[in-house]
Structures are given as C-alpha cells and as structure tokens.
C-alpha cells in the first residue's frame, strides 16, 4: 500500500483499471469455467442417463422375451459413450449377469438400488439405472465412465481462458494507459500549473477549464484562489508601502523631535525610545528597550510621583483638556540628576494600553530660572539696602556734621576763650576725621558693590605688618583715651618670619576695622590679636572681652549696614559698614571670615588667607 501511495497518478490509474478489469475478468472466467464444467457434467449425466435408461429397458425385454442371449448387443450401444470403462447388468441379488467387456475390471461392487443414481468421484462418473417393468425389479445397469475427455475439455477451456486473460490484460493495459490520461492529464496539468505559480510567484497565471466535472470545479476553485491571492498580494503590497511610508514618516518625526518620546507598555517597560531620549538620558535604544521606566527615576519619591502624574495626565486627556506638563527629576545613565518636564497620555495598541511620555530636559532652563530669581531677589534686596544705606548714611553724616556745625558756631562766639577755642577746634577736627572715615568706607563699599576694588599685591612680612598695626592702634587708642581696654599682640605666634603674598593696605584696613570694632564694643578687658599657620593657610584672629554676639546674628553682622542692637547703636556709633567691607576684602584676597562668640563674655573673629597665592 505504501508503494502504491508513492506511485505517480498515471500508474495509480493504470493499476486500478488493470486490477479491476483483471479481477472482474477472472471472476467472470472462473464463474464461466465452473458453469461450463458443471454443465458439461450435467449434460454428460443426462446423455448417459438416457442411454442407460434405454439400455435398461432393452435389457428387461431381453430378459423377458429374448432368452438373454443378446444382452451384450444392447450393452454394445453404450460403447459409443466416450471413455466408457464399464457397462454391466446385475441381477436383483447383485450378481453380475452380463458385462460389455468380459475382461473389464471394477474395483468394487456397485451399490444395488431400485432407484437410478449417479455419482462423480475424482476420476469417474458412476451411473446406475434399475431395470423395472410394471413394478417388477429385474436387476440394474451399472455404467462407469472415465473423466479423460472432461479433463481434456476443462484443460482446453482453462488454456483458452488463460490466453484470453493474458490478451485481456494487454488489452486492459492498452486501454488503461489510454484512458488514464483522461483522468490524470487534467490533474497533472493542475499540478504543473501550481508548480509554475510557486516557482515564478506569478499569481496572474490562470488554468484553462476544459471539463465541467469535479476537476473542472477544481480548476475554477484553483483560479479563484489564485485571483484571491493576487488581489490580496496587491493589497498587501499597497498596504506595505503605505506602512513603510508611514513608518518612515513616524521615524523621521520621532527622531527629529527635540523632546524624548518614550512609550511604555502595561508593565511599565519601555517599548519605544527615540533619538532625543538617547540625547537626554544617555542610554541607547538597545540598552533601554524592555527595561522598566523607573530606571530613569532617581528615587522612590519620583517613582511614586510618576504614577500620580501619569494618572492625572490621563484624566486630563480624558476630559480633553490640554495636559499641562509636570516637572520632575530624572536620572541619566551617568547618574547625573536632571530636571525634566513630562507629558503623558494613554494610547491603545492592539488592545493593550500603552503610555506615551514626552520628556523635555529643562535643567538649563531651571538654572536660568534660578539665576533670574536670585538676581531679582538680589535687586530687591539691594534696593532695600540702598534706601537703608542712604538713611543710615544721612544719619551718620549728620551726626559729625552737627558736631562740626555746633562747634564751628561756638567758634564765632566772641565770648569764647582761647582754651575753649582750642577744645572746640579739636572736636571739629575729630568729627571731620570721623566724617572722612565714613566717606572712605562709603567709597570702599561702592567700589566693592560695583566691583571696582583693585588689589595691590606685594610680598610682605606678616610679623612686621602686625607690629605696625599694633603700634598704630595703640597710639590711636591712646588718642581716644580708652584706657580701660588693653590691646595685646599675641607674640608667641610671631616667632617665625612668615611671608605672604597679599595687599598689605587692605589687610591693614581689615585689622583696623576689626580692632576698632573690638575696642569699641569692649567696656573693659583685653583685645588680643595674632595669627597661626594651619594647613597652608594663615589664620588670623581678633578676640575681645566685649558684649558678644548672639548666635543667630553670626552671619548677619557681615551684611552691609547691619547693626545688631538698636539700643546699643546709640552707645556704639558707627556706619555698620566695617565688617561688610572686611568680608568683601578678605573674599577678594581669597580667604574667608567668621565669628565665634558668647554673649556678655566676648567674641573672636577669625579670618584666613592662603599662604601662597
């Protein structure tokens, strides 16, 4: 059966036709042979039976009237039967009465019967006819016939049959191979056409219908199938080109966008990543795709916030409002945190929800904004300071001016003695000096404010500088007759000759201001100053035993025009510019200044400068 399945259609058809025709022919011939043989046998029996009957009658009459002498004459009639072996007459008691051939042999005695009978065995036909006349049984006739003729006839018949069968086989083969074409040709044609279509990919080929049977229908179906494929292919081509066009467009749009376009799926994994996203976050498309979006968020707070933002955005989208972008923090591949502005919307792709997020890097904008804000605040502050400054200045100028004006008026008084004149002139000079100092300060401040302060850097010996300052300050202290305060230069630290590259005048100015402040705010006690070398820096200090400064004011005192205590300001008059100028100078020199203090016990002002520039 497997062999048959592998045969080509042509041979299948031929085989089927051959098998069927041979089968029917064989069965027909077999039935025919059987009928012929049976008929032959039956007709033989019939013929022999008639002869036997006649002979039996004759035998009876011979026995009745002919004295038995001519019995053989009647038996001789039977000689005409071909292949006759025995013809015998038996008496009723089964004794042989007469035989055709006296020498003939019989292997066994025949059955005695008053009925006629016959029997075929393998080689012989046995036939017996009783001799009955008017109900009287006179014996029986027994005939035995060989089967040679029948066998010959059968053999001849079979030979003919076989020849017919062989002839029919060839005839069948001839017709089968001729007629199979009717069946196989259209199918082969179909197969060839199908192969052609497959090989060339040309779906425009059509098969020509020649019959209207099932094969014709098959052809029709095949053609309509091809047509469908052709149409579908054309549509597909069209759709493909449209798709690639739109793909191209989309690609160009997405890559030309300056904002990052990132699409995430339901599980918050990134499924789309454009060029701008790479620029903003530093990840390439290959690195980030299928990774979760939270990778771009620096902390849990931002992750939570993203969820909230996304939901809010979607809600806004649903209400058809233009969603306003949210500002968030994100983290780049290089771990740098950046400010982003995020817009999200929900889209549905293949029944899956996707989120489209558009992200803009606003780090620069943020910085600019901050700067602008700072600048604005500063402007407002400086405006305030300016008015405060003017107010202060006018007050500070008025006070010595009042003194000058008052004492100058007294000078004009003719009643004024020489001694008094001298004293008044002294006051006028003092107030004038204060005024000059004030104006110097104002000049400095305005220089600092407009960044016009120039430095004149020299290499100087610190010990010498500090000694000069001590001498000058001590002299000045004496002129101001503030004898309850003792000024000490901490000389233990001055052992080595430290050389520093700085502006000596400005440094002196800082010391003068710090020392005069210290002396001013100290009722009694010690004002000490000096320096030490710490880590390539020169750290200076000015300590006093004065009223001290509250901790919350540590920074405030370095601001322009700040005076801590309004009550004490009357007692300790001053412009409030000194510390601000000092801080600015020190900052310009590349150092810093700060204060450590305890209220009521005193303060220590520290400032440092770099040892080498």
């Amino acid at each position: 059966m497997r062999f048959f399945k592998q045969l080509p259609l042509k041979w299948k058809n031929i085989l089927v036709i051959l098998v069927v025709s041979m089968l029917t022919t064989s069965v027909g011939l077999a039935i025919g042979s059987y009928i012929v043989v049976t008929n032959y046998k039956a007709s033989m029996v019939q013929k022999v039976h008639i002869a036997a009957k006649l002979t039996a009658k004759m035998a009876i009459s011979e026995i009745s009237f002919g004295h038995g002498g001519e019995m053989r004459k009647y038996l001789m009639w039977l000689k005409e039967i071909p292949d006759l072996k025995n013809a015998r007459i038996y008496t009723p008691d089964n004794n042989l009465y007469s035989a055709l051939n006296s020498e003939d042999t019989l292997p066994q005695k025949p059955k005695n019967s008053k009925n006629s009978w016959y029997k075929y065995d393998d080689d012989y036909l046995h036939l017996s006819e009783p001799m009955l006349q008017d109900g009287k049984y006179e014996g029986f006739l027994y005939i035995r016939i060989g089967m040679e003729t029948l066998d010959n006839q059968i053999f001849r018949y079979l030979k003919t049959t076989l020849i017919i069968l062989v002839l029919l086989f060839f005839l069948s083969y001839f017709f089968a191979s001729f007629f199979q074409k009717v069946l196989s040709r259209p199918i082969l044609h179909l197969a060839q056409t199908a192969q052609k279509v497959t090989q060339t990919g040309n779906y425009g080929i059509r098969i020509k219908k020649t019959t209207s049977d099932e094969i014709g229908k098959l052809y029709d179906q095949f053609n309509s199938m091809l047509e469908q494929i052709q149409t579908r292919q054309a549509k597909l081509k069209e759709a493909n080109s449209a798709l690639s066009e739109s793909k191209e467009k989309f690609k160009k749009i997405s890559s030309s966008a300056n904002d990052a376009i990132i699409v995430i799926d339901n599980t918050q994994n990134i499924v789309f990543w454009n060029r701008a996203a790479t620029k903003i976050f530093g990840y390439t498309k290959e690195e980030i795709l299928t990774k979760p979006l939270v990778k771009l968020l620096p902390n849990n707070r931002q992750k939570e916030r993203f969820g909230v933002v996304a939901r809010a955005m979607v809600q806004q989208n649903a209400t058809e409002k233009n969603p306003s972008p949210y500002e968030m923090l994100a983290i780049r591949k290089d771990k740098k945190t950046i400010d982003i502005e995020l817009t999200a919307s929900k889209i549905e792709v293949k029944q899956n929800n996707h989120w489209v997020t558009i992200i803009r890097d606003i780090t620069d904008r943020k910085i600019a904004q901050q700067k602008l804000k700072d600048a604005t605040e500063k402007a407002i502050e400086s405006e305030k300071l300016k008015s405060a400054f003017l107010q202060n200045i006018s007050h500070e100028i008025r006070t010595p001016m009042n003194g000058i004006m008052g004492f100058a008026g007294l000078l004009k008084d003719p009643m004024t003695t020489q001694k008094e004149l001298h004293e008044y002139a002294g006051y006028i000079v003092e107030n004038g000096e204060n005024l000059i100092l004030l104006i110097d300060d104002i000049v400095d401040i305005s220089k600092i404010g407009s960044e016009q302060m120039t430095l004149n850097k020299q290499t100087i010996n610190l010990t010498k500088l500090l000694k000069d300052i001590y001498i000058t300050q001590n002299k000045q202290k004496k002129t101001h007759q503030n004898s309850r305060v003792k000024l000490i230069l901490n000389e233990t630290l001055l052992s080595c000759n430290t050389v520093i590259d700085t502006d000596p005048d400005r440094l002196k100015q800082v010391f003068f201001k710090l020392l005069s402040n210290a002396i001013k705010f100290t009722e009694r006690g010690v004002v000490e100053f000096g320096y030490e070398i710490i880590d390539n820096k020169v750290q200076f200090f000015v300590s006093d035993t004065g009223i001290g400064i509250e901790k919350q004011n540590y920074n405030k005192i370095f601001e322009t025009f700040s005076k801590i205590n309004k009550n004490t300001s009357k007692l300790y008059c001053g412009t409030g510019l000194g510390l601000a100028i000092s801080k600015s100078i020190i900052n310009l020199l590349g150092g810093d200044i700060w204060v450590e203090s305890e209220v009521g016990k005193g303060s220590i002002f520290y400032f440092w400068l770099p040892l080498s520039a």
Binding site: K57, M58, I60, S61, E62, I63, S64, F65, G66, H67, G68, P92, D93, Q133, D134, G135, K136, Y137, E138
Partner: protein
C-alpha cells in the same frame, strides 16, 4: 415377495429353456411364463371397471386346456396390475365375456373368424399358438424357431386395439401386417 416370485419365474424360465426335451409341459410352461410377461408389457384401458382392483384379472382359455395346470402354477398367488388372477377355461365362444386375456387353442381354428369378431373392439389380449391365427386377427401368436419359443404380433390389430403393447414386446416379436385390411 414380488422379488422372490420374479426370481422364481426367471429361474424356471432358464431351467425350462435349457430342458427343452420334455416337450409339451415345458413348452406350455414357457408359454404361461410368456403370458405373464405380456401382462407386464401391456396396458389395459381403464374402461369397464378395469381400474377397480377388487375385480379379478380374468385369463380365459378357449378350447381344450393345453397348459395342464401350468397356468395355475404361474398365476397362483400372483397379482396382475394389482388384481387377483382368475383363470377360466371355456369351451364355447359365447362364454367369452369380460376377460382380459384370451388364449385360443388350435382346436378353435374353424371358429377363428367368429372369435375375432367377438373380441373385436374389446380390451382383450388375444393369444394363440397356431400358425395362421395371427394373420387371422389374433394379436399374439407363439411359434417355435430353432427350438426356441418365439411370437409374432399382428401390428395392424395391435395399433387399432384399445390395448397398448409396449414396443419392447414388438422388439422381440415377428411383425405380421395383414394386407387385407
């Protein structure tokens, strides 16, 4: 029973055929046996109550009885056509009535034409053993040839008769065809 009887008759036939010299009695034994055979090969019409088996089958012998008891021996306890056999010995022509077989002895030759006329158109098998009787109109006439019992049959008579003689009888008979009729 039948078988045994047939065998007996057959054996007798053989014996008497061979024992030919006891001329008269053996000859008539043969004739009696032959008469019995003729009953077998002859069909009587069923008219005149022949089919009634209670009626006997009548065999009449006209003239002096030549059989000398042989007939009785042959037909004793013997049935013909399922009928009992009744033997009648007649001397007068007028006694011929409804017999089935009539044996005409040679003594009756002067009255033969009269007898023939009497039996004409009747279902009677007429048998004789006198030369010339067959030509006169008797159906079956015995004669001896080469010391063997033979018989002749008047074919014309036989074919005109209501009786039917089997062709097997004719097979062994000498056929007489009188031209006068």
């Amino acid at each position: 029973m039948k078988k045994a009887l047939s065998l007996l008759v057959f054996s007798m036939l053989l014996i008497f055929c061979k024992v030919g010299h006891s001329q008269t009695s053996s000859e008539y034994l043969m004739k009696a046996a032959f008469i019995e055979r003729f009953t077998r090969f002859t069909t009587w019409p069923n008219s005149n109550g022949f089919s009634d088996n209670s009626r006997p089958f009548i065999i009449s012998v006209l003239g002096d009885n030549p059989f000398d008891g042989v007939l009785i021996r042959v037909f004793l306890d013997h049935k013909v056509k399922n009928k009992n056999v009744e033997l009648r010995y007649l001397s007068d022509i007028n006694q011929i009535k409804d017999c089935s077989i009539l044996f005409i002895t040679s003594k009756m030759s002067p009255k033969i034409s009269q007898i023939i006329r009497k039996t004409q158109n009747k279902p009677i098998l007429t048998i004789s053993d006198t030369p010339g009787f067959c030509e006169a109109g008797v159906l079956v006439n015995f004669f001896l040839l080469n010391n063997k019992l033979r018989f002749e049959v008047n074919q014309t008579k036989a074919s005109n008769s209501t009786l039917k003689l089997s062709h097997l009888i004719l097979q062994h008979a000498k056929i007489i065809e009188p031209k006068q009729k």
